[in-house]
C-alpha cells in the first residue's frame, strides 16, 4: 500500500507553502482510521520529501482519529471497527474513503446517507514554526 507516498507529497507541498522558509518545529498529523493509512510509510515518505525540499522539521506526531458515522435519515451514530471489516473492503476504502458508501449502511435503518463525522483520512492538526531559527 504505497499510495501513501502520493498523499505525503500533497502534505509536504502544503507544509512547504505554509512554512515559507521557516523550519517546522512541530507537526501533528491526524490519521482518520477509516483510511487505514500505514503510519510508517507515510512518515518515511513525508520525511524524505521534506528533506529533498530542504524543509527542516523537528518532530512529527501522529494521532489516530476514531471513525464516527452519523445517519442523516434516523440520526443514529456509530463507530465501526475497521479491524472487523473484510480485507478487500478495507483496501478499497483505503484508496478512496468514499467507497465506504458502497459498503456501509446505517445499522439501525439501512440508509447509506450517513455523514463521516470524524476519522475519514489524513489532515494536519497542528503546525508550529520556528520563527527565530539559529
Amino acid at each position: 500500500m504505497v499510495h501513501e507516498w502520493a498523499l505525503a507529497e500533497a502534505i509536504a507541498e502544503y507544509i512547504e507553502q505554509q512554512a515559507k522558509g521557516r523550519p517546522v518545529k512541530k507537526l501533528v498529523i491526524s490519521l482518520g482510521v477509516l483510511q487505514s493509512i500505514d503510519r510508517e510509510i507515510l512518515d518515511f515518505a513525508l520525511k524524505n520529501i521534506l528533506d529533498e525540499r530542504n524543509v527542516r522539521i523537528g518532530s512529527i506526531e501522529y494521532v489516530d482519529e476514531e471513525v464516527v458515522l452519523r445517519c442523516k435519515r434516523c440520526g443514529y451514530e456509530w463507530k465501526p471497527s475497521m479491524n472487523e471489516v473484510d480485507e478487500s473492503i478495507r483496501e478499497a476504502i483505503h484508496f478512496v474513503p468514499e467507497a465506504v458508501y458502497s459498503y456501509f449502511k446505517c445499522p439501525r435503518c439501512g440508509s447509506r446517507d450517513f455523514e463521516i463525522e470524524s476519522g475519514r483520512g489524513i489532515s494536519i492538526k497542528e503546525m508550529v514554526f520556528d520563527e527565530h531559527p539559529k
Binding site: V2, H3, L7, E9, Y101
Partner: protein
C-alpha cells in the same frame, strides 16, 4: 474551501502535468451519449496509437467499464508512489468502480468532492496526449470540481441531442463555459439525422465536431469491442476524433 486550503489540490496539477489535453465530455442534460462518446473516443485514440486515458467521474453511476466490457472489481491498479492506472484496451483507465464494484454508491456533494480530490491526487497518469473524462449530467458538484479546480487545464467537449429539451440545456452549459473563458474543444450532436445544432455552435462560436445519427442496434454492441469497432457509430467517432486532433 478555496483553491489553496486542501493539500490534495496542490499535487493535482503535478499529476496532470504530463497530459497534453484534458477533455471532459459534458452535457447538463442526461442520456445524450456522454459515456458512449467519451469511452469510444478514448478507444479510437488508442487504436490510432495516441496515448490516451479515460477517467470516469460519474461516481454514483460509473458505466464506462460497461462499454469497455470489463469487470472493474477484477482490476488491480499498480501502486508506485500513488496509483498507476491499469491499461485496458490500450487506454489508461481510472474509475471509482475499481473500488466500489457494482455496489450502489449514493454520494452527497461533499463526498463527491472528496472522492474527486482523492482520485486526482493519487492517480499518476504519466504522459498522455488526451485524457477523456466521462462526466455525469448536470451542472453541480462533479462538473464544478472540474471547472473550479482545473480551469486552465480542461478543454470541455459538449454533447447534445437536437431535442428542444436538450437545446436549452446545452445553451446554459455553453454560457457558463464561455463566461469562464474555458477552452471549448467543440460541440457534438448525437442521435440526430441533421445538423440542427450547427446554428448553436455558430451562435456561441464553438467548433461543430459533427453529428451522429441514431443507430438502432447500438445497445446490442455495448461491451463488445470488436462489434463496436466495426460499427457505423465508431466510424463517426473516428471522424469526431480527427476534428478534435485538428483543433
Amino acid at each position: 474551501m478555496n483553491t489553496q486550503s486542501d493539500p490534495r489540490l496542490l499535487v493535482i496539477p503535478q499529476r496532470l502535468a504530463g497530459v497534453k489535453h484534458i477533455v471532459p465530455v459534458m452535457s447538463s442534460k442526461g442520456g445524450v451519449g456522454k459515456t458512449l462518446l467519451s469511452t469510444l473516443l478514448a478507444l479510437a485514440g488508442a487504436d490510432k496509437k495516441l496515448k490516451v486515458g479515460l477517467l470516469d467521474l460519474d461516481f454514483t453511476n460509473p458505466s464506462t467499464h460497461i462499454v469497455l466490457g470489463i469487470d472493474p472489481a477484477s482490476i488491480q491498479p499498480v501502486e508506485e508512489k500513488g496509483v498507476i492506472p491499469p491499461i485496458i484496451h490500450g487506454i489508461k483507465y481510472m474509475t471509482l468502480a475499481i473500488y466500489t464494484g457494482e455496489n450502489p454508491t449514493p454520494l452527497r456533494g461533499s463526498a463527491i468532492n472528496d472522492a474527486f480530490l482523492e482520485i486526482l491526487a493519487i492517480t499518476r497518469w504519466g504522459e498522455l496526449d488526451y485524457l477523456f473524462i466521462d462526466t455525469p449530467p448536470g451542472l453541480s458538484d462533479p462538473q464544478l470540481n472540474l471547472l473550479t479546480y482545473l480551469p486552465s487545464r480542461i478543454e470541455p467537449l459538449v454533447v447534445a441531442t437536437p431535442s428542444p429539451l436538450a437545446i436549452r440545456s446545452v445553451e446554459k452549459l455553453l454560457k457558463v463555459l464561455i463566461e469562464g473563458n474555458y477552452k471549448i474543444t467543440g460541440l457534438v450532436e448525437n442521435m440526430s439525422n441533421n445538423s440542427k445544432l450547427l446554428k448553436i455552435a455558430e451562435k456561441y462560436n464553438v467548433k461543430y465536431l459533427g453529428s451522429i445519427p441514431y443507430y438502432n442496434n447500438i445497445d446490442g454492441l455495448i461491451g463488445n469491442l470488436e462489434a463496436l469497432r466495426s460499427s457505423q457509430f465508431y466510424g463517426k467517432i473516428i471522424h469526431i476524433l480527427k476534428g478534435i486532433i485538428r483543433a
